[in-house]
């Protein structure tokens, strides 16, 4: 078949538009459910990924379709085959986008406040200098459940829930902050994503990336032990967090 004819077929085939339409409908549905307040964090993260996948899939579908048509490959003739080819790239883009979107969602959904001029920010400033990194911004998320994570989009940030600050003593909170600073530092030197941020990946939801997470978590814990001279404060923080979630059930 001549290349021009392949390209025309690519454009006029309705089945791809139907697939794309279904995908966008999925994105809209996921976004609508996201507004429901009673969802757990895990469910919200799942919905954000579903939403992103729904948005990226049509782009991936049409670009794969165009590429197949341009190269006059048989893949463009079968909608199902095309969808299968488009899924991996859509998954990849939505995962990468998720690493940026999800932390920003937590920060800018009106549920967090930047922490400035407190003992925490002075502590972070001091230890960032020691580590040779730019002090990350600190955000307090308005959530009674204890959690903390760090991420780096344009500038690093450490995010700590108010619930975490409520239940930990000063030294325990410092241990958590040092742990997150270690993640920020490791990302500054090597281009890899923090284990704590991997908690936001769909792979964590599927529980299939444990080994990588364990190595980075162990390194961050080790850093805390070196700075504080003991593991007891970090251990105390972890015990309290586990206790909280245990009491919740």
């Amino acid at each position: 078949m001549p290349i021009d004819a392949c390209f025309v077929e690519v454009v006029i085939d309705n089945s791809k538009f139907i697939l794309a339409g279904v995908s966008v409908a999925l994105a809209v549905a996921a976004f609508t459910f996201l507004k429901m307040r009673r969802l757990s964090s895990k469910a919200k993260i799942g919905l954000i990924y579903a939403h992103l996948f729904g948005l990226f899939f049509p782009i991936s579908l049409f670009t794969t379709n165009a590429a197949c048509g341009f190269l006059c490959l048989p893949c463009f003739e079968s909608p199902l085959g095309l969808a299968v080819l488009a899924v991996p790239s859509a998954l990849l883009f939505s995962t990468v986008a998720g690493f940026v979107v999800i932390p920003l969602y937590f920060l800018y959904s009106g549920r967090s406040v930047e922490v400035k001029g407190t003992a925490i920010t002075s502590f972070i400033s001091r230890h960032s200098k020691t580590l040779g990194i730019r002090p990350p911004r600190v955000y307090a998320v308005k959530n009674p459940r204890p959690f903390a994570f760090s991420f780096r989009s344009f500038r690093s940030a450490i995010v700590i829930s108010i619930g975490m600050m409520d239940i930990l003593r000063r030294k325990e909170l410092e241990a958590v902050i040092l742990h997150e600073l270690a993640h920020v530092k490791s990302r500054a030197s090597v281009l890899k994503l923090s284990a704590s941020l991997m908690r936001f990946s769909p792979f964590w939801i599927l529980k299939s990336f444990h080994r990588e997470l364990d190595i980075e978590e162990a390194a961050a814990d080790k850093y805390v032990q070196i700075v504080q001279g003991t593991y007891k404060y970090l251990k105390g923080a972890k015990i309290k967090v586990n206790e909280y979630y245990g009491n919740e059930r």
Binding site: V115, T118, A119, P144, I162, D166, I167, K240
Partner: protein
């Protein structure tokens, strides 16, 4: 609006609708007007063995039940929630009763309404007779 999901008929007072820890925490908040998680924990641990995390979980439950409110406040040590009771003791009593009675009427309809009428008529008669 106060949300009551279950009632323990064998218990008295607030413990019929709240756990002992939740009742104790409300008591502390009515006395102190507002408090952080740690402040409430310090008061309660003098009376009974209780974990800080239990206090935090109970406060969140009370918040979801519409019995306390919370505000985030930035201090030298970071950001903390300040909890305060949403209603006075008297108002809370009324809200709980309203909630429970409404649910009974919703579930049992006519039977519930006629029982309440009979019961209140008996009480009024007894009051008039000075019993």
């Amino acid at each position: 609006m106060v949300m009551i999901e279950k009632i323990r008929l064998h218990k008295k007072g607030y413990e019929s609708v709240l756990s002992p820890q939740e009742s104790a925490i409300l008591g502390v908040l009515w006395n102190s007007r507002e408090a952080r998680v740690r402040d409430i924990y310090r008061i309660l641990r003098k009376r009974n063995k209780i974990a800080l995390t239990s206090v935090a979980v109970c406060l969140d439950r009370l918040y979801k039940k519409g019995m306390v409110m919370r505000q985030a406040e930035t201090g030298p040590g970071g950001v903390h929630y300040i909890y305060s009771p949403l209603k006075s003791k008297a108002d809370l009593d009324r809200s709980i009763v309203e909630n429970i009675v409404d649910k009974i009427i919703y579930n049992f309809g006519e039977s519930a309404v006629s029982y309440f009428n009979e019961r209140f008529s008996k009480s009024r008669r007894a009051k008039r007779r000075g019993i």
